[in-house]
């Protein structure tokens, strides 16, 4: 597997190489690697990559995966337009 060509976070296009290098260099948590690389910060809210990031981080730091959810979930759980959030009634929701 070519680490540079392997994208982990599809939304922000962050590679396996970038993530593992960052974890190694700063011995960081999932949360810190997210802040440093933007992995998991994209449109989907890390829904697709969070398990992979947790697994990579736990593997490199040789720690078990914690009970606490590492990359916190924040509302909105689904992207919504500001129009819908702001109370506009027209047919405009993002699905």
């Amino acid at each position: 597997m070519s680490d540079e060509k392997t994208i982990v976070c599809r939304c922000e296009e962050i590679s396996f190489q970038t993530i593992s290098d960052t974890v190694r260099e700063y011995s960081c948590s999932s949360r810190e690697v997210k802040l440093r690389t933007r992995a998991g910060m994209g449109y989907c809210g890390g829904r697709t990559c969070r398990h992979m990031i947790d697994t990579i981080v736990a593997g490199i730091n040789q720690e078990p995966i914690a009970d606490e959810i590492q990359l916190s979930y924040r509302p909105p759980a689904r992207p919504l337009t500001f129009g819908v959030l702001g109370g506009m009634q027209h047919d405009n929701e993002s699905r």
Binding site: L35, Y43, R74, P75, P79, F82, G83, L85
Partner: protein, 396 residues
């Protein structure tokens, strides 16, 4: 033995800057943090250094100097923290706001700051997506943006070059004093660090650390929520906020906006700023809710409502996430940058409320000047902790 010239408590943006400046000045420094770097307020905030949101006087003076320092750091550091000077814009919704704003600008200009009033037409030339009915605003070119947690990381990485020792995941359990009353050591849940100087950079948790040495620090958490947009075309090219933001920040300005109950009750004022990643951060909100940083749906809806009023193009752009942080608020809106008279060797750098990012470089620099006995860049008597003692005396 774990012995240091200075122990800095709190690896938020203030603690990171203080650690950097002290390390660079040749002190041996330990930076102690209960979580990771930028674990609290500094990763739950916006990302700007501004003068346009400050009151005339010392607040603006040190804010301006801080931005100049950021410019130097951005050149000097090998760690990129996404700094750029984009300017900022205050927009006025009514003629009355425009009038208050003109008075404010006149005062700042008299002090020599580069701010100017723009009319309705100029406003739309600068930011074409703004609502067409806005009356005008204030434009400040010096205001800048950066990535706040990358600034923290940058300070730490640069400070490590000068020997900084990092103690993350160490929760401070006590600060001991010697017979002479001077600080002696910092006890964490994992180790003891000997020192005769402690800098309290614990932000919203500063009061807790103060209690450990028997002082009462009047810093309280003031919550704020931020919404993040999807990556999108540049709907604005700089920080834009409504003039009403000043009103939500400073309780003493008497002016009532014509806004919905949701916006009014949650103390919401429109702000937006671009990031390097092409997401936009939207705010703002201020509330006293203790240490609670849960997202509140009413606030999310209020911010969105206010956002589409000022920037209608946002109606069809998605909000992908919302978060809340807590600002270290002090009653007079001026940070505390000071040694504590009653506890020699105990310093406080805190209470910046929403200006921690703005003020970090200058705060780090001034704490270093205080510790080394140099003259500070500014007369910072008004930032001295003793001002609260005087207040107490007056009130009692």
């Amino acid at each position: 033995m774990n012995s240091f010239d200075v122990v800095v408590v709190g690896a938020g943006i203030i603690g990171c800057s203080v650690s950097y400046h002290l390390s660079k000045a040749g002190y041996s420094v330990a930076l102690v943090e209960k979580g990771d770097i930028a674990h609290g307020t500094s990763s739950r905030c916006d990302a700007v250094a501004l003068i346009c949101d400050k009151k005339p006087g010392i607040d603006t003076e040190i804010g301006f100097k801080s931005i100049q320092l950021y410019k130097e750091l951005a050149k000097e550091f090998s760690f990129d923290f996404e700094f750029s000077t984009r300017g900022s814009l205050y927009v006025c919704e009514t003629e009355q706001e425009l009038e208050i704003a003109s008075g404010y600008v006149a005062e700042q200009r008299a002090d020599g700051y580069d701010m100017k009033m723009v009319d309705q037409k100029e406003l739309l030339e600068i930011e074409p997506y703004l609502a067409k009915d806005l009356k005008g605003g204030i434009w400040t070119e010096v205001d800048s943006t950066m990535n706040p947690y990358l600034v923290c990381f940058a300070f730490v990485e640069e400070a490590k070059k000068y020997g900084l020792k990092l103690f993350t995941h160490h929760e401070v359990k006590g600060v001991t004093k010697g017979p002479d009353g001077r600080v002696q050591s910092v006890i964490t849940d994992r180790t003891t660090l000997h020192t005769n100087r402690v800098v309290n950079c614990a932000g919203v948790w500063a009061a807790k650390l103060g209690q450990m040495v028997g002082i009462d620090i009047p810093i309280q958490p003031r919550k704020g929520m931020v919404l993040i947009s999807e990556k999108t075309k540049p709907v604005v090219s700089q920080k834009v906020h409504e003039f009403g933001y000043m009103l939500s920040k400073f309780e003493d300005i008497k002016y009532k906006r014509n806004v919905s109950k949701l916006v009014e009750e949650n103390n919401i004022a429109f702000t937006i700023e671009p990031t390097e990643a092409d997401n936009f951060l939207l705010g703002g909100h201020r509330a006293f809710k203790g240490y609670d940083i849960s997202s509140e749906n009413d606030v999310i809806r209020g911010i969105a409502e206010r956002a589409i009023r000022f920037l209608p193009i946002l109606k069809d752009i998605s909000c992908i996430r919302a978060y809340a942080g807590i600002r270290p608020w002090v009653p007079d809106h001026l940070p505390i940058v000071s040694e504590v008279e009653e506890v020699p060797g105990f310093y406080i750098a805190g209470g910046h409320e929403g200006d921690g990012i703005s003020m970090a470089p200058i705060t780090g620099r001034m704490i270093t000047q205080l510790i080394s006995g140099e003259e500070t860049d500014f007369n910072i008597d008004r930032l001295n902790f003793s001002r609260y003692k005087q207040l107490e005396r007056v009130s009692s």
